[in-house]
Symmetry: C3
Subunit: 281 residues, 3 copies
């Protein structure tokens, strides 16, 4: 795998580190590597817990690479077909919660769009209080978030706060994200790694069968139905193939530095507002 | 409309201001005006976002006018029949979440009973930290809250805190309401208007189709079923037509100044306790 | 009853105090006494509210007595059969939310395992900020929590935080428990009793019918289905009858002082980690 580095601390405790260019964009190749990794996690008899982190302290996963042509995204295929018979991105997102392994996102830097959605599909989210930022900016470029945030955020944040996040498209710093329930906890940056490591190691000591049984019971109460993921993906494709001013705003953001490490990506929520807000009235 | 002033900042961004007497009581006429306004919001091709606020900084909407005869409430009818075939109040409450428009309650002052329920039926709630107060005091006068709080509060606050609010009947100042999830955020009073205006203007810049699609996806996960609204309304009518000490407590509150701007309305949670609590034991 | 002391402040307002040995362990006899008490609450025409507290300020209910043989737990039977036709523990746990009476847990000290689950099955939870501690440590000894926490915690805390609690098995001090929604509020220890007493007395003044109707409406939205309790109990029995290292860890904890008042019971979350965490890697 070229974008995700897997380290096996022990047979039971793994870490997967996203490392893809200057801002950790997600693209079809990321999804194919995740598909492979999830297959390992589904079949390995020993692994109990995996931590997902980032090689870049400023970007956990910036977002989906918006320059990937829509037809390429729509036509994505893994070599062996997908495990659950869905589009590979929905497949990966809906397999995460069902893994016989505990998934922990340890978030430093920005996690927006598909990056936030990847974190939301993990079981547990710990984040750096100083460095983590969350956002579903898609609405700002005329798109519906298609990777599961419309299923997870309403359940984690409640109806009102999910609407604020998904309809506003602004940035949520770690402390606010914690208050809203987007993440489990915001921890001081200097303590994040130690805390997550200790948490993962205690889980690594437990029985795999018990972990599986607990996950099944919690899934009964909280796993969003597949249909919600599929409906969101459909709405994403509909919105991104529709001409309209959102496409023009996306173009303007790209010209101002979207997808590069710099001012626009660091404060994307504010830049979305600058190009979207009505001035008159 | 005589109780609700609508201002169109732009074709896309409207404000509706409640202005009905000294404490903004809600009565059948308020519901009829809301019915009209919602019809405009359902049919206007341009509007993206509407902010609901109050002309009175001490009262957002005090509560339902308890002096309206029960038979009048039960027999309420809009001129053209209701959109969803329900009692006009349930009709308005259940249409709010389905509007092709983002509804934001900007709450200053008291929002109790039907006033709290109106805010709960909006998509997003921002409130003044210093001035907003929430409460479902109905239990204190022997009534079941009938306008949807029994559906929205359990989902927003969780089971335990919803029971505390609905069975206790006490006041929840903005800071506690924020902590419990009753509102999105409590903001400093001096910043509330600027914050809400900026939030509304960024949404006004987005595509209407995308707003509609996002609302539909979030509604799949969180919109309470109609049956819960209808069951609550039925329980409200049953409880308010039943003789009992609750009716006497309501009478005592009216004699002490309920429905006027003064001590009782300003601290209704405490006054409910004074007339209800068992002293012996 | 020998473990639960019931005090009737008035006909409408009762308190039940757990008082069973040095750390308030729960055992089959506790369940039989609860079964009796719930029958009284289900049939008494006057009682509106009951507060559950503990005679021991350091232990609300420590947890289930792990030395009770599994066959005894599996074979538990109340004299008259159970009300809802379930295993007596599931029966008690699922009857709590359906009582025609408001149940309030006033928590001082540790509430872990079945003790936390008892509190979760009550309608409302207030806790001592300085003294209350919550935890589902079962995973640490190779067991699935079987008394309803897998149904209640996901709904109260959300998916991510429920996974953290149930898969981590660590202690949650009152302040964190409040932030996560495990309890309604953490109150200063010196104010807890006064606050709870005032809250109970205001409810005692209300009509029983209205209390019942409100509980029914909130139950529609939030009462977990029976199947989740039964699936958890089944998983508990499966996990505790399976040989494995969890049984050895339980033995080691017993030898270090589990079930006695002392270091292990006071900081059980940390001791679970000490005996479970992988050291290598």
């Amino acid at each position: 795998m070229s974008q995700i580095r897997v380290q096996k601390h022990t047979a039971r405790y793994w870490t997967a580190t996203f490392d893809n260019g200057p801002i950790n964009l997600m693209n079809p190749a990321t999804v194919y590597e995740l598909d492979q990794l999830l297959t390992s996690l589904e079949t390995d008899p020993e692994v109990r817990v995996i931590v997902f982190d980032s090689a870049n302290p400023d970007f956990f996963i910036a977002h989906w690479d918006v320059t990937t042509p829509g037809a390429v995204v729509a036509g994505m295929k893994t070599e062996s077909g997908t495990r659950r018979g869905m589009h590979p991105h929905a497949d990966v997102q809906t397999r995460l919660g069902r893994l016989p392994v505990v998934t922990i996102a340890a978030i430093r830097g920005r996690a927006r769009g598909a990056g936030s959605e990847f974190a939301l599909a993990c079981d547990i989210r710990f984040a750096s209080r100083e460095r983590a930022v969350f956002g579903q900016f898609e609405v700002g470029v005329g798109a519906v978030a298609g990777g599961g945030s419309t299923a997870h955020l309403p359940r984690l944040l409640g109806r009102g706060r999910a609407f604020e996040a998904l309809l506003g498209g602004d940035d949520f710093p770690a402390e606010l994200a914690e208050r809203y329930g987007w993440i489990n906890r915001a921890l001081p940056d200097a303590e994040l790694d130690t805390f997550v490591d200790a948490f993962a190691r205690r889980i690594a000591g437990y029985e795999k069968e018990v972990i599986v049984e607990i996950k099944e019971l919690v899934n009964r109460a909280t796993l969003p139905p597949d249909e919600e993921f599929l409906a969101a993906l459909k709405a994403f494709f509909a919105s991104t193939t529709r001409p309209g001013p959102g496409r023009a705003r996306l173009q303007a953001l790209l010209e101002s530095g979207l997808q590069q490490d710099g001012e626009v990506e660091r404060h994307l929520g504010a830049h979305v507002a600058l190009i979207s807000a009505e001035k008159e009235g």
